[in-house]
Amino acid sequence: MGYDPNNPMEGRITDLGPHKYDTMMPPIIMENKGKWLYHEILEPGVLLHVSESGAECYTVRVGSPRLISIEHVREMCDIADAHCGGFLRFTTRNNAEFMVDSKEKCDALIADLKSRGNKFPIGGTGACVTNIVHTQGWVHCHTPATDASGPVKAVMDDLFEYFGSMKLPAQVRIALACCLNMCGAVHASDIALLGVHRKPPMIDNDRITGVCELPLAIAACPLGAIKPAKATNSQGEEVKSVKVNAERCMFCGNCYTMCPAMPLADPEGDGMAILVGGKVSNAKSAPKFSKLVVPFLPNNPPRWPEVTEVVRRIVEVYAKDARKYERIGEWAERIGWEKFFEKCDIPFTEKSIDDYRLAYDTWNTTAAFKYTSHTDPYTK
């Protein structure tokens, strides 16, 4: 018996929730849960956890594109069946982890993973660039200002040496969100790639009556740029519609989320902003937001060369200049943001100066600053 479309409620089961976690964990984890004493990263991508019982858990972490096929997942299962007693896990940053209980098994596991081409790169631990948290982009989303999987592939290809090594001052967390809705929550990442629109919404007067609740569309605008208006559709009929005060628009796209008759995506208008210096962890310093340092780079598929170039430049300058344990945001604050722009050779524009709400919090209200090339017109 299966689903019967003629009796849709017959035999229906709901509200089961997920499987309980303890049916999903390998014996080495079940036996030592809550008893772990310490861990050590043996080499990039390989972790050892030691329990108070003396038991050892070896974990091999591998990258993944996150957008993966069932064949790819089945191959992961084959590996887990061959080496790990039929269990595996994923990390919050889209890596996969294979766990075994001895060094010998770990060596065999690593050899197997390495024999499978570039499908399972080992790394993503410690002071590295680990996998990029990202969104759907043009593969699945209706509001994106850029793609996600493509630019992530391009950036990870370019920074690949940093995924499989631990030579940076601290971990560098990169995230990509394909529009300001930030399903990828990139607002607290060391380097955030953010899809942005730059043209105000168009109004589809043929569609607006059927698909849009005008008061909700008007209320959706945080800047009050949308007003009710009469308009004429392509049939020459007068319809109740809205108009957009383009001068007030900050291109957030919230109106389009509420009203499908207000599309704003555009090949020339859309592209990517880069924000840096965010962090989530409380270690050493409080969590920080990412700050906008590059307001716009064009969408240049398939490899977004302008984006990968700036990201690499920031990572390399940081790698050379920052102190051990210093996250990108901590480094930028120590040297001063004026120095960050100068050292990374990123042009500073008025677009990095906040003019939205609470903007004043970010304005400099001291006379103590560093001289950089930016002050040359005053000092030279």
């Binding site: 409620m9 310490y38 957008l67 593969v139 300001l180 919230n254 050493k284």
Partner: protein
């Protein structure tokens, strides 16, 4: 479905990072609709714009979330993705899977879907990417009847709770993140599946202040592990670190040219509260000055451990920027016990105090962090029946505009202007 030329996507088959394009082409051999995913994506690469229509409300009977509707705007060219709905499957806490379950899920998706997935979505669900409307009910039937599991959340409801891996494989977890995540997911099945909130509401459970699940940045209700007694010190292990016998930071800097470990420079001087010092070869900590940031413990995991009296800090109201700007969660409850012995009743009390209020005063599409901003933290604290403490603010306010209540001022607000004028000529 025919194969399409994809010269731009083919470029993404090059390079060392695993290629989603190569993977999708492999899947297309048994799921030809993957050719249409690639074809439409190639068209987006040419046009530099998405080709998915806005929204589309689909789902399974009785649920208001768990499935996200999606339709192609070029279905004639790419019929395999005419419908391309997403199914969110509630992940197991800690993201562990038996291959038995994972294979069953893949078989299910082989039967009903495009063959593509996301492991995992941003909130934590397993994402099954791309199916047709008529497949949704049969898929849900098999998911519940044969696999014994369920969809996650979407829309204005409790989103699928998520957690770090916690005690399962981390020595720093201050409570069992997996257990509370599972318990509250089960407790709130109705709130996950049937939207009744002003907007989305997310729980995230991190075992310590390193916050691997980004609770403080991404969740309306962040439970972050901490302790209230003293950091546990193993002085013998401290000596091993100083002697260079144990790798600093769990070996996280092994490939860098940082020179020998320097306990003063790397631990004592980087402590944000400067509460540590050496006395001879013993490391001392003034725990009353410690803010439990985790740095010293991160650097010397074999010598330092969180205290023994563990629990969590509750922070409330994080969100991404839309609309008024990004917010981190605000610290509301400094310490709370997190124990399965009381079935998390004390945590549930806190959650429901928020919901009872927010469901009443929250506006449409207003995250609780925005409601908190709108009414002010003092009002929110009184709603939560939490006494204001200095830990609730980074610093006291610098403006004097206090909203005094009438009962706080002797004589109240009502006065007689005639009486006033008798003494004070205008």
């Amino acid at each position: 479905m025919a194969k399409h030329d994809t010269p731009m996507l083919d470029e993404l088959e090059k390079g060392p990072w695993p290629s989603f394009v190569t993977d999708m082409k492999r899947q297309a051999e048994t799921h030809p609709e993957c050719w249409d995913i690639l074809g439409q994506l190639e068209l987006s690469y040419e046009d530099r714009i998405t080709h998915w229509k806005h929204g589309g409300i689909v789902g399974v009977f009785g649920y208001g979330g768990g499935i996200v509707g999606r339709y192609s705007d070029v279905p004639d060219r790419f019929p395999g993705v005419e419908h391309f709905h997403t199914v969110r499957v509630n992940q197991p806490a800690g993201l562990y899977y038996s291959t038995e379950n994972l294979r069953a899920l893949m078989d299910l998706w082989d039967k009903y879907g495009s063959g593509m997935t996301n492991m995992h979505g941003s909130t934590g669900d397993m994402i099954l990417l791309g199916t047709r409307t008529e497949n949704l009910e049969p898929l849900f039937w098999d998911l519940t009847h044969d696999l014994g599991q369920d969809l996650g959340g979407s829309g204005s409801n409790l989103r699928t709770p998520s957690c770090c891996l916690g005690e399962s494989r981390c020595e720093w977890a201050c409570y069992d993140t997996q257990d509370i995540c599972y318990a509250l997911t089960m407790h709130y099945q109705d709130e996950i599946h049937r939207p009744a909130f002003p907007y989305k509401f997310k729980f995230k459970f991190s075992g310590c202040a390193n916050d691997c699940v980004a609770a403080i940045a991404r969740s309306d209700f962040a439970v972050i592990g901490t302790w209230k007694d003293d950091i546990q010190i193993d002085q013998a292990a401290v000596k091993e670190y100083v002697a260079g016998n144990y790798p600093a930071n769990g070996g996280a800097h092994k490939d860098g040219d940082w020179g020998p470990f320097n306990l003063k420079k790397e631990v004592i001087d980087l402590c944000p509260t400067q509460c540590m010092w050496m006395e001879g070869d013993e490391l001392k900590i003034d725990n009353s000055e410690c803010n439990r940031c985790m740095h010293c413990i991160n650097v010397m995991p074999r010598a330092l451990r969180p205290g023994k009296e563990k629990g969590a800090t509750i922070c409330i109201g994080a969100k991404a920027p839309i609309l008024d700007g990004a917010q981190f969660a605000t610290m509301i409850i400094p310490f709370i016990e997190v124990s399965k012995d009381n079935e998390y009743e004390n945590i549930i009390d806190v959650i429901e105090r928020i919901w009872d209020w927010w469901m009443e005063v929250g506006k449409n599409r207003e995250r609780v962090g925005e409601t908190m901003q709108r009414v002010g933290l003092p009002t929110f604290l009184s709603v939560m029946e939490v006494e204001p403490i200095p830990q609730h603010v980074k610093e006291p306010r610098s403006n004097p505009y206090v909203f005094w209540k009438e009962e706080e001022v002797p004589g109240g607000f009502e006065r007689d202007i005639v009486e006033f004028r008798k003494r004070h000529a205008a």
